[in-house]
Every structure is written in structure tokens, then in C-alpha cells.
């Protein structure tokens, strides 16, 4: 009875939300709470694949990502602070500040961009409409997005699938989010899959392991600590 009541309350709450509010709420969920975790990133290409183990520290807005494996790339670290993006490369022994355009670049050669991981482009650049339970996003006039349309599929207020279309109406990317874990009142998808729909065999899988919810030390978000770790 209590479950039914909760479900009805959720439905009533969802019913009263505008499509934009639904999108915002879903994106807030996507960010998850402040946590530290180990992510496994698997980049698949036709004929080969590469797996990274990443140590991630995030407060929901900022993120510190450190490559643990493979050994050849271990020690590389990224820090995302709003528009600022820093990279530490142990081979160079230096921390570099990447231009904000770097946010649109592919992360570790995968199909993911920093924008996919941390961005709020979907709510900032698109006008949102709802059709048959699917949020359909169309670029605002002059919006700096190359996509012609984005469809966001929600399930119980959580993003389940995002499909990006080009300006010719063809689906070009698909992001699937699965296995949401409830953490400290927020939700964190434990599995993400990003497919390049134009290139068969191009796929990136992200799996969240060993997530620990709780405050992350402030030093983790200092560029100085990219080199020594936090």
C-alpha cells in the first residue's frame, strides 16, 4: 500500500513537471552525489579494445580522474573545474591547462567527451518538448551544438537512453545508462554505454565499481594535486 502510494505520488509529481524541469531533474540525478569510485572504461574498436581503470573523485560539479591502468598510461590525471580542464601527463612531468574547446574532445580516445561526462549542454542549448513520454530536444536558434535533435528517454525520472541525431535526421550517437544505484538520496548509473551509430564496432562502456559516497577533500580539486594525487 505504501509502495503504491509512493508510486502515485511520484507520478503526480512527474505529471506536474514541465519537460524542461523533467530534463533538469534527470540531469541532476545523472551527476550523482559527491563520491569517489573506480570506473572501468572499455573502448571498443573494430578488431581491438582497450580497458582503462580510473580513480574518480567528484563532488557532482567538479571531477578529478586518475588513470590506474593500463600501466603504460597510469598516472595520467584530469581535473575538470567548470570550464577549466587540466591534464597531468607523467611522461611530460607537467600539468597542462587545456583550452575549453578541449571539453568537446574525446576522453582517452573513447567515444565520450568531457561534455558527456560533466556537461549541461542538453538543458542549456536545447528547447525541450515531450512526446509520448520521450523528451525531444531541439537546438535553440544559434545554439552551439552540431546536433539537429536529441531524444532523451526517461524511466522513473532517470535518464535511460539518449539518442543524438544529426541535422539530416539520422541518429549518430546513442548513450545508454543502466543499473542505477541509489546513493545517499541520489542516483548513479553504474553502467554507461556509448555507441557511434555511424561506425559499426565503435563503442565505449563505462562501469562504476567501488563507489563510496561522501565528501571529497577539497585538495582533490586543486591542480597542484593532479601530479601527486589526492
Amino acid at each position: 500500500m505504501a509502495r503504491l502510494l509512493a508510486a502515485l505520488l511520484f507520478l503526480a509529481w512527474a505529471w506536474g513537471q514541465s519537460p524542461l524541469e523533467k530534463l533538469k531533474a534527470a540531469l541532476d540525478h545523472l551527476r550523482g552525489p559527491a563520491h569517489r569510485a573506480v570506473y572501468v572504461l572499455k573502448v571498443e574498436r573494430p578488431g581491438f579494445s582497450k580497458t582503462y581503470r580510473l580513480q574518480v573523485f567528484t563532488d557532482g560539479e567538479r571531477a578529478h580522474v586518475r588513470v590506474l591502468e593500463p600501466k603504460s598510461e597510469a598516472g595520467q590525471a584530469y581535473l575538470s573545474l567548470g570550464q577549466d580542464l587540466y591534464l597531468f601527463d607523467p611522461r611530460l612531468g607537467r600539468t597542462l591547462r587545456l583550452p575549453p574547446t578541449g571539453r568537446s574532445e574525446r576522453f582517452l580516445g573513447s567515444d565520450l567527451t568531457y561534455q558527456d561526462l560533466m556537461g549541461r549542454d542538453l538543458e542549456a542549448l536545447f528547447e525541450v518538448a515531450e512526446e509520448g513520454g520521450v523528451l525531444r530536444l531541439f537546438p535553440k536558434p544559434g545554439a552551439p551544438t552540431p546536433y539537429g535533435k536529441v531524444e532523451v528517454y526517461l524511466r522513473e525520472g532517470l535518464v535511460e537512453r539518449v539518442v543524438y541525431y544529426d541535422q539530416r535526421g539520422e541518429a549518430v550517437r546513442e548513450l545508454l545508462l543502466r543499473a542505477y544505484q541509489r546513493l545517499d538520496g541520489a542516483h548513479l548509473p553504474r553502467e554507461m554505454e556509448l555507441k557511434d551509430l555511424l561506425r559499426p564496432g565503435y563503442r565505449t562502456l563505462v562501469q562504476v565499481l567501488e563507489a563510496q559516497v561522501g565528501p571529497v577533500p577539497e585538495r582533490c580539486f586543486q591542480p597542484l594535486y593532479l601530479e601527486r594525487g589526492c
Binding site: 583550452p99 574547446t101 568537446s104 552551439p144 552540431p146 539537429g148 541535422q167 539530416r168
Partner: protein, 394 residues
Amino acid sequence: MTLLRLAWRNVLRHRRRALLLSLVVGYVTLAVLFMLGFLDGYGESLVESYARYVEAPVVVAPKAWWQDPDPQSGFKAPFRVDHPGVLAQTPRLALPVLLRSPYKAHGAEALGVDPGGERALSRVPSKVAEGRFLAGPGEVVLGYRLAERLDVRLGERLVVETGRKALGLRVVGILRAGVSNVDFAGVYLHLEDARSLTGVWATHLALEAPRGQEEALAQELNRRLPPGLEARGIWSLMGPIRADYEASRLFYLPLLGLFLFLAAIAVASTAYVSVRERLREFAVAESLGLAPWRLAGQVALEAALASGLGLAAGLLGGYALLWYTATHDVFGPLMRLSAELLPEAGLAEHLYTAVRPGYALVAALVVGLSALLALLFPGRLLLRMEVSAYLKEV
């Protein structure tokens, strides 16, 4: 006149030898003409590409920008050059950008331009193959090879990002200029958009100058411009391709000189052999009262006439070849391949040779050189000849 007639008769007496000499000289003349025409044509095509498509005849910019072409080193406030030699001027804003389509992201250098000002100065606006050139903010025009690489079409939105801001601009035109920098890397957006992406007024001023006076105007402006600004003429704007062109000239001009010298040596050595064979004849002529220096002059004249015949044939063939390559796109495939290999070198897809009367003068050096060498070596043989030694045997 008698000497000339005698020399001419001697040339005709040994027709096969004269023909061979003429062939050597003709071939060298043709090679000299063609190489000079090709080098000048290449230089003219570079000047045309850079002055009308890639840069401008003269560019004025802050010295800091010349040293570090970061937009922030550009003009912070509007600036204008007042000089009677400047025929037109327009501000431009060059900025490094990241271009994003749904399929690809590509780094490029975009140029913010004022469409009206650009039309007065550049040929780029007239080279739109699809759509139209910029009319206002919110638009972008791309080179066709870049559009292919990004897979964007007319009417589609392209994201143009800088470190400061990003804009979604509509592709309104696709360029096909036949100049590698424009076709492979050309990104033109409205000056207002470029300003909003960078926050500066312009990075440089492009100036129109009378043809051939670009460097002089730049020097003149450098004496008058406020401190901190510098004007550069078209040759200074060319970058590494200028070094390539100058290196080509440095390499080929001495090579052509060597060609001419070898051809003259061939003529002189043949004359030497001819004189050795005809020593008795010359001895008789001298004993009949012809001065030795006149005999030497006759030999030089013979060499000049033989090489002159070759020169005439070479000039005819060389100018015909130059005319053909100046009016037909013979080097198009070669240039297109070069542009493909060096897309940012500013190479044009077409190269037409230059045709200048002055080349004939350079090629004619072979005649003078042949005569001089003939005077020096076979002629000296005649000057030292002991007539009695040859007449005894008669």
C-alpha cells in the same frame, strides 16, 4: 662585311657540324626560356594566391601580433590607415577555432571578415561554388575540402568554438577557389561573430596596394605608422613557401648559367677543332694580307653565327612552349597534387608560365659567350700561328 660573308660561308660549308651546334644551343635556349618562364610563373601564382586569397597585398598589425598571432595581441580599438597609396582597407580577425559537426571535430584558423570590405580586396567572396558569401552575423563559409572533411552541407549548423565562447553558425556558402589554403582550410565568419568569440576589434588590417608596389608601400607605412604597429608587404607574408620559391631560384639560376656556359664551350671547342683543321687555309689568308686579329674575329663570328642559328630556333621553340603553357593548364595535375601534399602552402591549383621578352636577352648570352670563348681559344691559336710553318708544306 666581307668577314661576315666569309664566316657565314664557313658555317654553311660544314652543315652537319653547324646543325649539331645549333641543336645544342637551341636546346639550351629552350631550356633557359622554359625555366625562367616557369619560375616567374610560379612566383606570380604565389603572389596572386597570397595577395588575393590567403593574405592581402599589405597587412598592418601590432608588432606583438606578428610575434605571437594570438587574437589578444590584435587591435583593441578601431584603427585606420590614412595614406594615398592605400586603395582600400578592411579589418580582419584571425582566430584559432575548433569546428564541430555531428561527425567530426577539427581545429582550424578562422577569419572574421567584413563582407563588404572583403569584396573590395579579396577574390574569395567571388569564389563561392554553392550558396553565397557572408551577408551578416550567424553565418559561416567554408572551403569545399574542409566542408567534405567535416561532412557539413549548405544550410547546416556548424559549431565554432574558442576558449572564450562557442557559436552555432549556419553554413551559407562553400568555396572552391583553386587555392589550397582556401579550399582545404578556409573558414570565414562575420567580423561581429569573430569579435564576440575573441573580444578584440581585429587582429590586422588588410590593405589594397597598386600592383608591384606592395613592398614599397609597406616600407613607407612603417615610417609613418604609430609605434607598436608594423606593415608587411606580400613577399613578407608568404611564410615558408617564399623560402621554397627563393631556394628554387637560387638553385635553378646558377644551373641555367652552367647550361649556357657548357653550350658555349661546346661551340668554342667545335670551333677549335675546325680551326685546327683549317690552319693552312688561315695561313694562306694571312699571307694574302689578312691580319691575324681579323682571322680571330672571323672565327669568333663563325661561332656566333652557328650559335645564333641555334638561338633563333631555340627562341622560336621556347616562346611557342611558353605561350602554350601560359594559356593552357598544363601544370594543373602537378599543382593539384602539390596542393594535396601541402594544403597550407598557399599553392594555386593552376600554374601558368610567364612570357617575357627579357628571357631572350638571357638566352642570347650563349651567343656572346660562344663568340668570346671562340676568340679566346681558337682565335688565340690563330694569333700565335707561324704562317711559314704551314706554307712550307704547300
